[in-house]
Structure formats: C-alpha cells, structure tokens
C-alpha cells in the first residue's frame, strides 16, 4: 500500500540548456513517478521528451552536458542544481542503475563490444563487479523476462528490430531499477513486436517498477497510463489522467497523434496492428472512395488532358540480389521483383504496401537507377533511364529515404535546400524555389539559423522532403515517409504531397501504414512475392 503511493522520483525542472545553445531545450516542467505505475509523457517531435527522459535518468548531467536549473529527488535524496560549478555531480552509474532509460534507437544502448546477447546483458553487471555466479543467474532471469532466452548466444548485431528493443530493455532492467524510462518503445515495430513490448511493460509495472513512457502518440499503451504529462517546446502544458486530457485542446495543440477509430492508426509506423487493419479492411470500399475523392481534382484535371505521358513507367522489371555478382558466396539469388509493371500518371498518388522485407524499398530504388533491373526497363517521362547516371535521373525523380540524416550535409537549412538548385533554376530563381519548398513543409522559420543536424528527426525528414520538392521533380518517390512523424509533421507531409500531385507530379509512396495509404493515395498496390497487385 505505502509502496504504491510513495513517490520514487520527483523532478522539478526550471530549465535545461545544452552547451553552445541559447534557447533552453527544457523549460518549466515537473514530473513525479510512483512505483508500479505507468506514467506517459506525450509530446510532438522536438517537444523535448527525449531530453527530459535522459535528464531524469542521468544520461544528460548538469554541467557535463548542459546547464541545468532545478531539482531531482530520488527516494528521499534531493539534489538542487543552480547551474553553478559547485552543483552536485551525479554518479551516472548509480543514478542510472536506479532510474534506467532506454533510448528510441535501441542500438545506442548496446556497448558494441560484446559478442553475444548474454554478454551484452551482463555488461552492466561486469562493470559493477557482480560475482560471476550471480551474473549468470541474473542474465538467465532477465532473458526470460524480456523473451530472449532462446537468443542468448546470438550476436547482437544480427537481431531484428523488435529483438534489439527487448535486448535494450533487458540491459536496463537487469540492474533492477526502481524507475524505467522508455523512449518511443513501440516505434518501427510491427504488430507482433509491439505486442511483446506492451506485455513486457505491463509485467514490469506489475512487479513494482515505475515506468515512464515517452511517446508522440496517445495510443493504446499510453491509454493504460495512470497519468499523462503533455510537453510542448520543452514546457509542460497540461497534465492529468488520460480521461481528463483525451480530446483536450492542449493535447490537440501538442502535435501528439491521437488514433481515430476506423481511420489512421495511432502509430503511423505500426499501422498494420490488428485494429487499424481490420477496421480498414471492413470499410475497404468506402475508404477507397474517400481516398480518391479528397485528392481527386489534381488527378482529374490531368486525366482530362487526353493522352498524358506517364510520369513513371516500369515494364516487366525483374530484380534479384546477388544476380549480378555470382562470385559472392551465399544461397542462390532471391527474386525480389518479378516482371513488375507499373504506370503512374502525372498527378497520381500511388501507395505500395507489403510486409517487412518484401522488397518495397528495392522497388523504389529502381525509379532513379540506384538499382538496375535484371530484366525490363524503367521509363521516366517517357525516357528509358538505362545507362543514365543516378545524379542525372535525379533531376526528374526525387527520392526521399527512410533515414533523412544521410541526405543532409549543409550548414543551414536554407543552404541545404539550395544545394544543386542553381544549376536547375539559375541564381535568381533558386532561392525563391528553396524558400517556397521550405514554406510548404513548415520550416521557413529555421531557414537561415538552424543546422540541419540540430532539427528534431521529424523535421529532418520534412527538410529532406523540401530538398526533393524544391527541384520540382516529375516523379516523387517516398520511402516510409510517415515513420516517426508527429501530427504536425504528418499534416505538412500530406499537404506537400497533395500540392505536388496537383502540380502534376507522379507520386509513389512505400508505406506499411495501410490506413495512411488509404487516406492519401488514389491507388494502393501490394507487393507480395515479387508481384504488384492492386488492392
């Protein structure tokens, strides 16, 4: 009884500012965590959720990582920080043992120096000089808890996304923390993987661990929380029980994704979870009509101009990995694409779905020649692209990758967008096009001052989208564009894609979020066993 009502961790944050920055990443925010309870911190991309989580768990430390004013109280020990040199210094090992944090990128949790899952789990115990016998027992117990018992001898580098996330959680809980902070624990997991993590979280709460969920979606898991805290721009704007906050204006303004019954799933990246798929499947015809009706005008006007040249045409394209390099050892080449035909008219939005690993990204990489078909041909605006360098095809085909970070390399957002535009539009036209593209994705304010790497990941993707849109390509290819976007990001994405289609761009998006595809696309194709078929 007392244990359940006692507060284990209480944080009161005045401000936290990273070194070298003028604007605080966190403003006034307060949070209490009770043992055995699930608490959710909800906020859009760039709201400071991860910074808050890392600050609470000692990953970011006062003085070491930035300037912190405020206080942290753990189990009766209260530490005050004034941003002065004689502030208390956290012992990260001991603090994090009791308040553990699992980052969104689970791979960042791993030491990279351990050869097996078992040794990776034991890494934290080794550093605390736990006797070997106790270590063996703890590894076995933790592995069973996070469902990795069968994988103890595997190399962590070979784990799937869901297994990796469970390993990261295991690395945190093996030290038996009082509090566990999970940053977007369901991101980029499929339905089965998400269900395992959800069950694990429930088990931890049941065993008395206080769990803090950092999420940009008020989804089913967040709905189980006893308390919500809404974070906007590093400041807490609302808190209360889910019932109090669901549907409130504060939640609406925060950019948090709220699942809509029968519509888009709460997590865009886990759209193939049961509810969304089943709902959507039942209303298939209706949803399809809706989908066509909304962006229809763009397609309609182009359809009216009698014989329109296809923006993108794939004729009998086949592709297999390993087919071009026979000397490579391995099993016989796997046919990823098999006689694929696809025609996308200007102004048309086509979505391609399919399970993980069916070759959706492979298909996309054929559009601009990053991959070349083993048989068949790819035509862009009627021209065969065989033998044309990727960089040249890129003038007509804009491809947005899953990891926007790889596409960005300039020092400001504007320079990033301007890259290569002068050759296309001349010096005078380039800046106008760049600014228009930035405005279209809602990044105008950041143009001159912000380094692309300092943008939150959601906005990095939008910036990458802007760099592609600014070139006004005839074909726009998007690889899982919704992953990691908050509601504001999704809205900008949706508007930008519609606007591009209205200008006559042929859009192909690969997504495993079926609900989103229904809402946006004119046609949905499923890639299955190397074949495309309409659904």
């Amino acid at each position: 009884m007392t244990a359940a009502t006692r507060t284990a961790l209480r944080a009161s944050i005045g401000s936290f500012t990273f070194h070298g920055e003028n604007r605080p990443a966190l403003g006034s925010a307060a949070l209490s965590v009770t043992p055995g309870a699930l608490t959710a911190v909800l906020g859009g991309s760039g709201s400071g959720k991860s910074t808050l989580g890392k600050l609470l768990a000692g990953w970011l430390r006062a003085g070491h990582s930035g300037e912190f004013r405020g206080s942290l109280e753990l189990d009766g020990t209260r530490l005050e920080f004034q941003g002065a040199p004689d502030d208390p210094r956290l012992n990260p090992a001991e603090w994090s043992r009791r308040v553990a944090y699992v980052p969104q990128d689970a791979a960042a949790m791993l030491s990279t120096v351990r050869a097996t899952v078992a040794e990776e789990l034991a890494f934290g115990l080794e550093n605390r000089a736990t006797p070997r016998a106790a270590m063996l027992r703890a590894v076995e117990r933790t592995a069973a808890r996070v469902g990795l018992s069968g994988l103890l001898d595997r190399d962590p580098a070979t784990l799937s996304g869901g297994e990796l996330r469970r390993l990261a959680v295991g690395c945190a809980v093996i030290a038996e923390p009082d509090i566990l902070i999970l940053d977007e624990p369901l991101a980029s997991l499929d339905g089965a993987g998400a269900a395992q993590i959800e069950a694990l979280i429930r088990g931890l709460c049941g065993a008395g661990t206080g769990v803090v969920l950092l999420s940009q979606a008020a989804d089913r898991l967040a709905g189980e929380a006893t308390h919500w805290t809404v974070l906007v721009g590093g400041v807490v704007t609302a808190e209360g029980t889910p019932a109090q906050l669901a549907g409130s204006a504060e939640l609406e303004r925060s950019g948090v994704l709220v699942p809509v019954v029968g519509g888009r799933g709460g997590e865009p990246d886990t759209g193939d979870r049961e509810t969304g798929v089943l709902e959507g499947g039942a209303q298939k015809t209706g949803a399809q009509k809706d989908g066509v009706a909304a962006p229809g005008p763009g397609a309609g006007t182009h359809g009216a101009v009698a014989p329109v040249m296809a923006g993108l045409e794939l004729n009998g394209v086949s592709f297999c990995y390993g087919g071009d390099s026979r000397r490579r050892v391995g099993p016989q080449p796997v046919l990823v694409l098999q006689n694929v035909n696809l025609t996308v008219r200007p102004g048309e939005i086509v979505a391609v779905t399919g399970a993980n690993g069916t070759g959706k990204s492979t298909l996309l990489r054929h559009f601009n020649g990053l991959l070349r078909p083993a048989a068949g041909e790819v035509r862009v605006c009627g021209r065969n692209i065989t033998g044309v360098p990727v960089g040249t095809v890129a003038a007509s085909v804009g491809l947005l990758f899953q990891h926007p970070r790889d596409q960005l390399f300039e020092r400001t957002v504007l320079r990033e967008t301007l890259f290569g535009l002068r050759e296309l539009f001349g010096k005078a036209g380039a800046e106008g096009k760049a600014r228009a593209a930035l405005a279209a994705v809602g990044l105008s304010a950041a143009a001159e001052t912000v380094h692309p790497a300092e943008l939150p990941s959601s906005q990095q993707r939008l910036l990458a989208l802007a760099t592609v849109l600014a070139r006004e390509p005839a074909v726009l290819a998007l690889d899982e564009p919704t992953v990691g976007l908050d509601r504001t990001g999704l809205e900008h994405l949706g508007r930008a894609v519609k606007a591009a289609a209205a200008r006559g761009t042929a859009v192909v998006m690969v997504t495993h979020d079926l609900a989103y595809a229904r809402a946006t696309a004119h046609r949905i194709l499923q890639l299955d066993a190397g074949n495309l078929r309409e659904i």
Binding site: K54, W59, L60, P92, A93, S96, A100, Y101, P103, D105, A108, M109, L110, S111, T112, V113, R114, A115, T116, A118, E119, A122, F123, G124, L125, E126, N127, R128, A129, T130, P131, R132, M135, L136, A157, C171, R365, N368, L370, P389, V390, G391, T392, A394, A395, V397, G398, L399, F401, H403, R405, D406, Q407, L408, F409, F419, G420, A453, V468, R471
Partner: protein, 254 residues
C-alpha cells in the same frame, strides 16, 4: 581452427611477440625466413591462410619492392659492386641488406597477422579485463572492429542518398574533392552523434566506474600454457639482452 580456440589469447599473443622480437634481435635472414614459413604453415592449418596471406601481401609487396629498389640500386656503403648504371650501383651488401630487412619484416607481419586473424576478440577482451588492463583499451579495440564494417555500409547509404539528390560524381579532382566533403560531413556527424549517445549509455551502465570488474565470459587457461608463456617471455628477454650486450659497444663507439 578448434586448436587455436583452445589456446588462451595471451599464449598466442606471447608466442607472436616472442617470435617477432627474437627474429628482430637475431638479425639472420634464414631464421626470419623460417619464422615466416612457419607462420604461413600455421595459417594454412588454422584455415586462415587466405586472409592472412592476402592482408600480408598488400602490406609487404610494396614495402619489399621499395626495399629492393632502394638498397639494390643505391647503397653507398656497399663495396662489392655487381653492376653499375650512372648513379645506381648494384652491390652485394645492398642486396643482402634488402634481403635481411625484407625477410625480417615479412616474418613479423605474418606472425602478428596470424595472431590477429585467429584470436577470439571476446576472449582477448575478457583476458585483458581479468589482468586489470584498463577496460578502456579493450573497448577501443573491440568497438573499432564492430564499427569498421558498419561504416562501410553507412558510407554506401550516404552515397546513394546524395546521388538521389542530384549529385553526379565527375572526373575532375576538385569536383571529386567537393563530393568527398559532402559525403564526409554526414558520416562524421552521424558517427559522432552515435558516439555521444553511446557514451551516455556506457556511463549509465557503469563503464566509467573505477575499481574492480568481473567477467561473464570464462576463458580457459592451463598450467602448461602458463609455463609456456613464462618460458617464452624469458627467452625473448634473453634474446633482447644478448643483442644489446653484443651490439652496445659497436653502437656507441661507431
């Protein structure tokens, strides 16, 4: 393959260091050649001959060619002139010098490559930790080995992403340098970002702790191996001392 796995990493390391030092101290090309051949045979028996020999060839072929040309043609200290073209003189002493140094380096390179391609890195880390070598050293070694292949993949992703943004790699040096800069920036940035969060994770998991550590992995050792290591170390030290004693006066007076 199985045999090398039963060897304690330190036994293999001691053997490699001992062989290299004794070879250097002995300065006799027949011994160097014998050590090189022995290393090659062990590599074949260990099933790593292909990797060891190809890695060694990349290092040794340019070095040995360079030695041959340098000392074979230009060796002012040489007396026995075999042939002469203008400033270049082929001398017996020069050729012997090139042979001595070439075989010595070949022996050392093969011995060390044999060690690094047969040792189990996790075992080595565990053994280092057990000897209270700072864990930071093992971390740098193992983390580098994990990062290297990952970076190659990442660089490929960056190149693809940038080509998709209209980057065309042209022939000119300046253009290529420019392209290179654009590839390096995201690579360095991503690596440093990852490193930053890895540091936080490592600190959180107690990596920064001073004081003793334990090891989950158990590395088998034996009395015989311990004795072998002690003997090898004594032999190595003796070889070094002998060389220093023999050559010292010569070294100073000349």
């Amino acid at each position: 393959m199985t045999r090398t796995h039963h060897l304690h990493p330190f036994t293999a390391l001691t053997a490699a260091v001992g062989a290299a030092v004794v070879t250097t101290a002995a300065a006799s090309w027949p011994l160097s050649a014998a050590v090189a051949v022995a290393a090659a045979i062990l590599a074949v028996r260990g099933g790593v001959a292909g990797r060891v020999l190809s890695a060694a060839a990349v290092i040794l072929v340019p070095l040995c060619l360079s030695l041959l040309v340098l000392h074979g043609l230009f060796f002012p200290e040489g007396h026995t002139v075999l042939a002469e073209w203008g400033p270049a003189r082929v001398t017996a002493e020069g050729l012997e010098f090139a042979l001595e140094l070439g075989t010595r380096t070949t022996a050392c390179v093969l011995v060390f490559l044999l060690f690094s391609f047969t040792v189990s890195v996790p075992d080595l880390l565990s053994a280092l930790a057990a000897r209270r070598i700072p864990p930071q050293f093992g971390f740098v070694l193992a983390s580098t080995l994990t990062l290297l292949p990952a970076v190659a993949g990442r660089l490929d992703r960056i190149r693809q992403a940038q080509e998709a943004r209209g980057m065309v790699v042209r022939g000119g040096l300046l253009s290529r340098m420019g392209t290179l800069r654009l590839q390096m920036v995201p690579l360095v940035l991503a690596l440093m970002d990852d490193a930053g969060s890895r540091a936080q994770a490592l600190d959180a998991r107690g990596f920064g702790n001073a004081g003793p550590r334990t090891s989950y992995r158990d590395v088998a050792d034996s009395t015989a191996q311990r004795r072998f290591r002690a003997a090898a170390l004594v032999l190595t030290a003796a070889a070094v001392v002998a060389r220093l004693v023999v050559s010292w006066p010569a070294g100073v007076t000349r």
